[in-house]
Subunit: 334 residues, 4 copies
C-alpha cells in the first residue's frame, strides 16, 4: 500500500516533509496547497504533484493523508475538517496555543476516530531514539533524573516571537515532550524561572529568551531543562538520563568532525546551526513512522493527547514564572 | 616567612591538610590535636610535629595559624577562641549548621580582626579555576546561565546523614558557593525540588538524596544545579557556563585515561570514585592560597561571609522544597 | 542540462551509485545492464529506467555517461569502448590490476579525449574533504607528516581475496590515493611490512591481512599507513595531518552517538560496520562531482592518472615487502 | 627498610628524582654530588642531605643506592664503579651511545651481581601502565599492531642535538622500549625513514627531526612509530594497541581540561608542553619501583639489557634510513 499525501503549506517545514515523503517508498505526494501559488507550484513541480486548494484536497478521493504545515492558528480547524473526512493527519506542533481549543479539537478527532500524529520530531532523532531504547533495555535501571539542554543558535524574528505563544509553548514544548518520552511517568509539579538576557525586544514583546525549568513526577523523578535563544557555537541539543544503575547521554551532533590543533589548543568546528540540518534524519524517520502507522492501522505516536499535555506543562511553566510558585499540574481524565 | 600551623582534627580531611602543609615550602606543621590520641600521634610523627591539646595550641606562641577539621558542631566555638587569640584560621565548611550561630561567630571574627578562610575547596580545583579565569578574561562575554552537575558516587553512612544538616547544607552548599563564584552576582531567588530515589533510609532520616535547584539573580542570571547521592560511574563534577559570546565547560576528571574498543563499543574507565582523589590538587592549592594570604597580609577568600551566604541559600532551598514556592533570599547588610 | 546515465553492473556498489544518480537533480538513470537479468530489472524498475545490454548502452544516443561497476577484469575494456564512443566514464577502482594494461587503457582515453573519473570515494567524504580544505586554507602550515589508520571490520570472502590483487591493490590503494590527495607531492619512496595475523587462509592465498607502510616524498614529507583486515569495533577510518603550524585530524564516524556510563565505565557504541554506511555521503558527493564535471566541461578528479599512480604505489609496496628494501618509485613522464 | 640514596647530578632531571625520593616514605636522600657546587648545595639543602663528591659517595657506607643523572658520556663508567661497590644503581637512559661500550658495562654489572635499572620512565606512566595491564588482562586478545605517536613540543638546543646520538638514540629510544614493553616479543626487522622538516640546522648537524619507523617481530606483529621534534599543540604522546579481540588506546594528557565554545567552534587548551609535567607521576612511580626492587630483593625492570636492546634498535633504524633497506636485528645471546 502506498499512502497518498496532500501537503498543506509549502514553506520551510513543508519542504522538509515533502522531501521525506518523496524519498519514502511507501508514500507519494499527490497534491500541494499553499496561500502563495508560486510556493505551491515550485514544490509540486519538484515532486511531480498537483497544485490544489485546501478545499480541493479535502474533497480528493485520491488522498489518504495530510501533512499540516500551515500557520499555527489554522491547525485546529484543519485537523477537524480532515478528521471528519476520514483522512489521516500529521500536524506540526502545536495544535493550538490554547488548551481549551486543543481539547475541543481532540474530541472531534476522537469522535471521528481519526488518526492524528503531532510533530514532535525529536523523538525520531536516531540518537535520542537510541537513548530511549537504552532505557527500555534496562541499561541504566530505573530512571531518576534527566537533564535536557536545549539552546537555539539565535532568536527567531521578532514578528515570530509575537505569535509564538511564548518560549514555553514554542521552544520548551519540545523538551517537555522529550521529558515525558524519557521519564515514562507524567510530570506533576513544575517550577520555572525565565528572564530576558539575550534580546530586550523579546522582553518588550512579553516573552523571555532564557529559561530554567524543573519537572517532578509523583514518584519524585526530576527533570531539569535549560533553554536559551542564544548559543554562539550552534544548535545545542543534549540529553542526559541518570538511573539507578547508570547514566545514558546523547551528545551534540556536528556537520563536520575534524579537529585542528595548534598553539592555541584543539579546536573542533561549531555544531549544526539550524534545526533542519540537525534533525534531518529525525524528520525523515518521523514521516516514516506516520506512514507505517497509517499503513499498518496501528496507533500513531506522539498523539494529539501528547501535544495537549506538553502544552499544559508549558502553561504551568509560564504560571510558575509569574507566581514564583511551584505549579501542580491538573490530573487529567483522558 | 614560614607559617607555623596547628592542626585541629587528625581524621580523613585532617590528613589531607597535613599533607598539603607538609609539602608547602612556606609552611610547617608544628602541632596536631585530636580527641583520639593515636590519630594525633600518627599524624604528628609522620610530619615531625608535636601532639598537643587544643588548649595548648591555643596558648602556643609558636603557632600562627590553625586548620579546623574537628566535627561541625565545634567549628564556631573554635573559630571564636582562635580568632580572639589572633591566630589565622582555616575552617572546613560549614562554620555551623545554624545561620544565627554563624552570624554571631562572624561578628566575633570581625571584632577580633581575625583572618578566617572557609574550606570551599572546589574554587581551587585547577579546572574550575581555569573556568573562572576564562570568564574573567572575557572569553564568553557576560555570564548568563550556569549548569552544575554534582553527583556523589554513593551516599554517606546513615549516621553521617543524621548530623549533616541535610543534602543542601552538606552537599549542595559546595555548588551554591560555586554558583556565586562564577555568577559574580548574588542569587536572589531559589526554587528547589528534592526527593528520595536512592535510599529510603535517607528519607526516614528526614533528608533527601536527589535534588534539582534553580538560582536566579536580580538581573535574571540563572544557575541550574543537579545533585544526587548516587552516580554508579564515579564522582560526577561538571560545570558549564553560558555567556553572551560563548560557553565554557569543565569536564569530569579520570584517574586513568585509556579507552578499550571491541565489539561492544568504546569503553573508558569510570571517574574518580572519591572526593579526595578527585580534588587532590584543589586541597593543596587551597592551603597554598591560605598560606599566601597569611604571609602577604591580603584578605582570605572564600571568607566566613562566603560560608554564611552559601548556608543561607541552602536554608532557602530547603524551605522551597517544603513550601513548593520560590524563596526570595533576604538582602544582607554586610 | 541533465546528465543521462547508463549503469553497468547492478550489484552492491551499482545500487549505491543508482541511488546517488536517482537523488541528484542534474542526472537521470536511463538504463541498467547486468549479466544477471533479475538484478538489472530490479534496479531499473526502482528508478524507472530501462534494462539494456552493455552493447545497447554503447549504441544509445540518449546516454551521456556510464558508471562502470562490473567485475575488475572488465573495467579496462569497457573504459576503452565507451571512451571511443565519446561517453563520459565513471569507473570504480581499480582500472585494472596490471599497470601495463592501465597505461594502455589511459592512452586510449587520452586519444579519445574522453572524460574518465576513478572511484576514490574517500576524497568526497565530508570529513576528509574538510581536512583537505583546512590544509588548503593554511590552517596547519606546510604539511609534514600524515598518519592514516584504515582497518576493515573483517576480512572479505576468500574467493574475493583470490581475485582482489592483494591487500595493497585492493585496500591500501584507497590510502595511497588519500596520501597523495593530502601530501600534494608525489611519494618517491615506499617501505612496507605485511603479515598474516588475522586469517591463515589469506596467507595460503598469497595475500596479507595486516600491513604497515611508510611513504616519503622527494622533500622528505612522510606518510604512515596502518592497515588491518580486522577491527572488532567497526570500520576504523582516521587521518591525521601534521604541519609546520598545527595538526588536523578526522575522527571516526559513528551511526549513533550516545554514551552509557555505569560501574564498568563510559561506553559508546561501535563504529559503522560497513563501508557503505560509513561512506554514504561520500558516494553521493562523488557522483555529484562527476555530474558537475560532465555538465561544466571541467576536468574530472580523481582521474585515470590518479588511479594509475595509486596502483604503481601498491605494486611498489608489495615489492618492498618481498625484497625487504625501500622501493623507489619510477619517475613518470605523463 | 629505608633505601639511602646518593644522587649524582643535580640538574633538571636530578631535581625530579630528588623530589621523587624525598616524597617516598621508603627512601631518604643522603647525599648529592654535582660538578657545579651551587647546584649540589641547593638541592642538598632542600632535602636536608649532604653535599659529597662522587668519590665520597662511592666510599660512603651510609648509601645503598645511587641515581645517575650526570652527562651521558659518564654513565657507563659510573655504573661500573658503583656496581663494583655493590650499590644498587638507577641510571638515566642511555647507558652509553655505543653498543660495544654498553655491552662491556653490562658484563661488569653482571659479574658484580649488581642491580641496574635504566630510566625508561614511560613504562611507569599511569596511563601507559593501564594500557599494558589491559593487554595482560586479555582485554584485546593477542597483540597484533601498535601505533606510537611521539612528538616533542619543539626541538632541543642545537648543542644538545650534537651530543645526543641522533633522534633514534635520543628520542625514539623511548618508543622502541615502549614497543618492546607492549609487544612482548622482540622486534626482528626495522624499516625507518627520516628527514629534516623542522629545522635545517639539525640536518647540518647530521641529525633528523622527523621520522617514521616500522618494527616487525618474528611472528609478524608490527609497530608503527611517528616522531617529530615539533608539535605546536604540546607534547604529543599517544599509543594504540590493536589485538585480535579489540583495541586499547592511551590519549594525550592535558594540564587543564576545560573547553570553550563560541562561533569559531569548540576549543580545548593545548597539551602539556614539557616532558617533566607530562610525566610527573611516571617519574615518581619509576623511583618507587626501583626502591621496591631494592627493598624486596626482586629484579629491577627495565634492566640494563632493556637499555641495550633499545639502543640496538636505534642503531638499526639509523642504518635503515641510510641504506634504504629493512634491517634485520642481530639475534642476541644474552
Amino acid at each position: 500500500m502506498t499512502v497518498r499525501f496532500g501537503l498543506l503549506g509549502a514553506g520551510r517545514i513543508g519542504k522538509v516533509h515533502a522531501k521525506a515523503i518523496g524519498s519514502n517508498r511507501g508514500a507519494s505526494l499527490v497534491a500541494v496547497a499553499d496561500a502563495a501559488p508560486a510556493a505551491a507550484r515550485d514544490l509540486a513541480t519538484a515532486y511531480e504533484a498537483d497544485v490544489r486548494t485546501i478545499d480541493a484536497i479535502e474533497q480528493s478521493t485520491d488522498i489518504d493523508a495530510v501533512v499540516i504545515c500551515t500557520p499555527t492558528d489554522t491547525h485546529a480547524d484543519l485537523i477537524e475538517r480532515f478528521a471528519r473526512r476520514g483522512k489521516a493527519i500529521f500536524c506540526e506542533k502545536p495544535i493550538d496555543l490554547d488548551v481549551a481549543r486543543v481539547t475541543q479539537c481532540l474530541s472531534v478527532v476522537k469522535q471521528a476516530s481519526a488518526k492524528l500524529m503531532v510533530g514532535f520530531n525529536r523523538r525520531f532523532d536516531p540518537h535520542f531514539s537510541a537513548l530511549r531504547k537504552a532505557i527500555d533495555d534496562g541499561a541504566i535501571g530505573n530512571v531518576e533524573m534527566i537533564s535536557i539542554t536545549s539552546r537555539d543558535p539565535g532568536p527567531p524574528p521578532h514578528d515570530y516571537i509575537g505569535r509564538s505563544g511564548g518560549i514555553f509553548r514554542d521552544m520548551t514544548i519540545h523538551d517537555f515532550d522529550m521529558a515525558r518520552f524519557l521519564l515514562k511517568e507524567e510530570p506533576l509539579f513544575v517550577s520555572a524561572h525565565a528572564s530576558v538576557l539575550v534580546d530586550k525586544t523579546i522582553g518588550e514583546l512579553g516573552d523571555f529568551d532564557s529559561a530554567s525549568i524543573i519537572l517532578e513526577t509523583a514518584s519524585g523523578r526530576q527533570c531539569l531543562i535549560s533553554n536559551s535563544r542564544r548559543a554562539t557555537y550552534g544548535y545545542d541539543q543534549r540529553i542526559e538520563v541518570h538511573g539507578s544503575e547508570g547514566m545514558v547521554a546523547a551528545e551534540n551532533q556536528r556537520p563536520v568532525s575534524i579537529e585542528i590543533a595548534n598553539k592555541d589548543g584543539y579546536t573542533r568546528p561549531p555544531l549544526h546551526d539550524f534545526f533542519m540540518t540537525r534533525y534531518l534524519d529525525a524528520y525523515a524517520n518521523e514521516i516514516a513512522a506516520f506512514i507505517e502507522a497509517v499503513t499498518s492501522g496501528k496507533p500513531v505516536s506522539p498523539s494529539g493527547e501528547d501535544g495537549l499535555i506538553a502544552l499544559m506543562i508549558a502553561d504551568a511553566a509560564r504560571e510558575s514564572v509569574k507566581s514564583r510558585k511551584t505549579v501542580r499540574l491538573a490530573e487529567r481524565a483522558t
